[in-house]
């Protein structure tokens, strides 16, 4: 009989939710009780809303337990391991019976995330046991020529998953066509979009698939050195990448004559980013690797002609690379089977915001946004009203609820004014103010603008000032038109993607939620009841029982009244902190 396995999910979100303590607890019990099971680690399976997760694999199958704290871990060991009685009400995923969260996995197709949460990311053996490095080995054994590898990638229809959507095979062909002696391949892991963590999960959960994708890419374009540009805010991803690179070197998968392919010398280095969003732009990223300020350069020349240290360079995103080994092993047709006419395969989304089941999902292209939100995501928190999703972070835009049937593919999403982006999908409900959302993104792009192009540097500043004014109730007639005019100028006059897309959040919110802007400007009201300066908190005399709770909680003593008598808020003192509103048990406080 196979030994029972207990596997703890130790990705960043698991750790943040307390998985480290759970692992220690299980380990301690194992040592004390001499229970016979194997304790292992894995990474994120995507169910962030149920973290920490512990999987038990016994002779019947796999059971993933959710919301496991130390007490629950002890209970699972006692009942499931000792007495072989699985605790069904804690199980969130299993093939053996239905669970209440099964909707989260239905409709998902895991290609880029095929190994995340299913193996120990720090073990090259486990990666190889799951067909890892098989793709590059088959290339070596069958002596498949670089151009044929490129053809397979082209046929698969894979497009850049960083957000650009440029066909990966075509990019490789350009780099391959250049016959310079020194060429480089770069993995862009500078995932800076606020609200996105797809790449982090892949790097933490399956670093070897990214390395294998890079090795295949390097073989295809005949590159000699590879760089992974990873943001320093991802310490765990960097640690696991370093381990993976060491293991690959030891096995001879990096170095000289890799995989026995004569003359194929290739090694990978990690470059830690230093905190600049603009470095996600490819020319800025290369400047940063060269040790300079990460400021974008003019294109052309494109990196495929003159990139890192003026050598031809190919840059792809983490998710793109993670797809490559699967495509080579399973064939272009197997990948192209998923998706729509022009957008093939799957896309990973980080589903966050006001959603019940927030986490990481991989869906075939062509699924509707509504299906992602309601079928996989389980709907809106506290069953509030679904208002919009934000796609593409600060470069993207909001898609309103009534366009929820928009399908996920590059062209359909672009036609709404948003962009596919790298995969951040932030769900908003009726309490999210769209003007504040636009202001939030502009605040971000203003800070992150490198300062090279005047329109991006000054224009975003001016737009932010206008938006801040509007959210403070100081908006003027004509502000919306000024915002649109500035937006178009910034788009036209910026060198890189950051500036060219910075106005998108403003333009899409004006397009779909113009009435909210007008309510702020004309009526000095915030319909979502979010913008503090526009709110008034009042006590509804009929409902107030005089329980004194609000009076106690008010930090500025703005509430007065005797016990069992209706209280009153002094508007001149109120700081609109919402404390009274959230504490009142009788709904006796109104916000308008």
């Amino acid at each position: 009989m196979k030994k029972t396995k207990v596997i703890v999910g130790l990705g960043s979100c698991g750790l943040a939710a307390g998985a480290g303590k759970v692992y220690d607890k299980i380990s301690a019990i194992k040592n004390e009780s001499k229970l016979d099971f194997e304790l292992k680690k894995t990474s994120c399976i995507g169910m962030c809303f149920r973290e920490p997760l512990v999987e038990v694999v016994d002779e019947k199958g796999s059971y993933i337990y959710g919301d496991v704290d130390e007490a629950r871990a002890a209970e699972i060991l006692e009942k499931h391991i000792q007495k072989s009685l699985p605790i069904t009400e804690y199980v969130v995923k299993t093939d053996l019976f239905d669970t209440k969260d099964k909707g989260f996995f239905e409709g998902q197709v895991k290609i880029a995330l095929r190994n995340c949460g299913y193996m120990d990311p720090e073990s090259i053996e486990e990666y190889e046991a799951r067909d890892g490095y098989k793709a590059i080995k088959s290339i070596a054994v069958k002596k498949i020529a670089p151009v044929d590898v490129i053809q397979t990638v082209l046929d698969s229809g894979l497009r850049g998953r960083g957000g650009g959507g440029f066909p990966t095979g075509l990019k490789w062909r350009f780099a391959n066509n250049n016959k310079a002696k020194t060429k480089y391949i770069i993995c862009n892991a500078d995932e800076g979009d606020p609200g996105a963590f797809m790449d982090r999960s892949v790097l933490e959960g399956d670093p070897h698939s990214v390395l294998e994708g890079m090795i295949i890419g390097a073989y295809a374009i005949e590159a000699s050195d590879g760089w992974i540009y990873c943001r320093a805010e991802y310490p765990l991803a960097i640690k696991r990448l370093n381990i993976a690179i060491e293991q690959a070197r030891k096995n001879g998968y990096l170095g000289k004559n890799v995989f026995g392919i004569e003359g194929f010398n290739f090694d990978i280095h990690i470059k830690e980013g230093a905190g600049a969003f603009v470095c996600g732009e490819e020319t800025a990223l290369m400047a940063s690797i060269e040790g300079e300020r990460g400021m974008p350069r003019k294109r052309p020349p494109f990196p495929a002609e003159s990139g890192l240290w003026k050598s031809p360079t190919n840059i792809n995103n983490v998710e793109t690379f993670a797809n490559i080994p699967w495509i080579i092993s399973n064939g272009a047709a197997a990948y192209a089977k998923y998706g729509t006419a022009k957008s093939k395969g799957t896309k990973v989304f980080a589903l966050t915001g006001k959603i019940k089941n927030g986490g990481l999902v991989e869906v075939p292209m062509g699924i509707t946004i509504r299906d992602i939100v309601f079928k996989l995501g389980g709907g809106i928190q506290n069953d509030k009203k679904f208002k919009a999703v934000q796609l593409g972070g600060p470069s993207g835009g909001c898609i309103p609820e009534y366009l929820g049937d928009t399908i996920v593919d590059y062209d359909s999403v672009n036609s709404t004014g948003a962009i596919m982006g790298s995969g951040g999908m932030v769900v908003m409900d009726e309490t999210t103010c769209m003007v504040d959302m636009a202001r939030f993104f502009l605040d971000f792009t203003k800070k992150e603008s490198c300062g090279k192009c005047t329109f991006c540097r000054v224009g975003t500043q001016r737009m932010l000032e206008i938006l801040t004014r509007i959210t403070k109730g100081e908006g003027k007639v004509g502000d919306i038109e000024t915002l649109i005019e500035l937006s178009n100028q910034i788009k036209d006059s910026s060198l890189c993607g950051l500036g060219q897309t910075a106005p998108n959040p403003v333009l899409t919110t004006i397009k779909y939620f113009r009435d909210e802007y007008e309510a702020h400007i004309r009526d000095k009201k915030c319909p979502a009841k979010n913008c503090k300066p526009l709110l008034t908190f009042e006590i509804i005399t009929d409902k107030c029982t005089g329980c004194m709770v609000c009076k106690k909680v008010c930090a500025v003593n703005a509430i007065s009244g005797e016990r069992k008598m209706p209280h009153v808020i002094d508007q001149s003192l109120c700081t609109k902190c919402r404390s009274c509103y959230s504490k009142c048990k009788f709904d006796a406080i109104s916000v308008s």
Binding site: R200, G291, E292, T352, G358
Partner: protein, 177 residues
């Protein structure tokens, strides 16, 4: 715009305390490597928590880097600090998901607890309060990170409790409000 992030000059006496010889090992390692400026500055900051003025001068003397270039790079990237920081850096996430889940309330609660503003260091140099764009733990929003520990699904009160327990460990006495 990134250039406006230049921080205040450090007082001379605070600066003199650092032992610059600690830098020798990595200077040797990176001295002649292409694109070495950022790693050199990163290692320096790892040692001292910030980049002291004297460290810049030492790097200028012992590597091929120019002072003006180094200053340009150090003031460009958000990671680099030119003045000392607290022992524990609190990074409150203000990414989209955290913003939607009211990260502002977390920063406000911490400002109240620590009696500093965002970006400042407490008088006893135990904490520095910072805002970051995204820590990538969006489904646990709102989130903050202290050292390598991430804390998710926070409320203002929870954030304060975390700070108090760290302070207790560091100073021995809990902070009284």
């Amino acid at each position: 715009m990134r250039i406006i992030r230049v921080q205040k000059e450090v007082k001379e006496e605070e600066d003199k305390k650092v032992d610059l010889s600690l830098m020798d090992a990595f200077i040797e390692k990176y001295k002649n490597v292409r694109g070495n400026m950022i790693p050199l500055l990163q290692h320096t900051q790892e040692l001292y928590g910030f980049i002291p003025r004297d460290a810049f001068l030492k790097l200028e003397k012992e590597t091929n880097l120019k002072l003006s270039d180094m200053y340009g790079v150090a003031s460009f990237y958000a990671q680099f600090r030119l003045k000392p920081v607290g022992k524990n850096i609190i990074k409150v996430c203000h990414g989209t998901a955290c913003h939607v889940q009211n990260a502002t309330a977390i920063t406000e609660a911490l400002e109240e607890e620590l009696k500093v503003k965002d970006g400042e260091t407490t008088k006893d140099a135990v904490f520095t309060l910072e805002s970051v764009a995204c820590l990538g733990c969006c489904s646990l929003a709102p989130v903050m990170m202290i050292g390598d520990n991430t804390y998710g699904k926070l409320t203002g009160k929870m954030a304060k409790d975390v700070i108090r327990s760290i302070r207790e460990k560091e100073v021995g006495t809990p902070c009284k409000n």
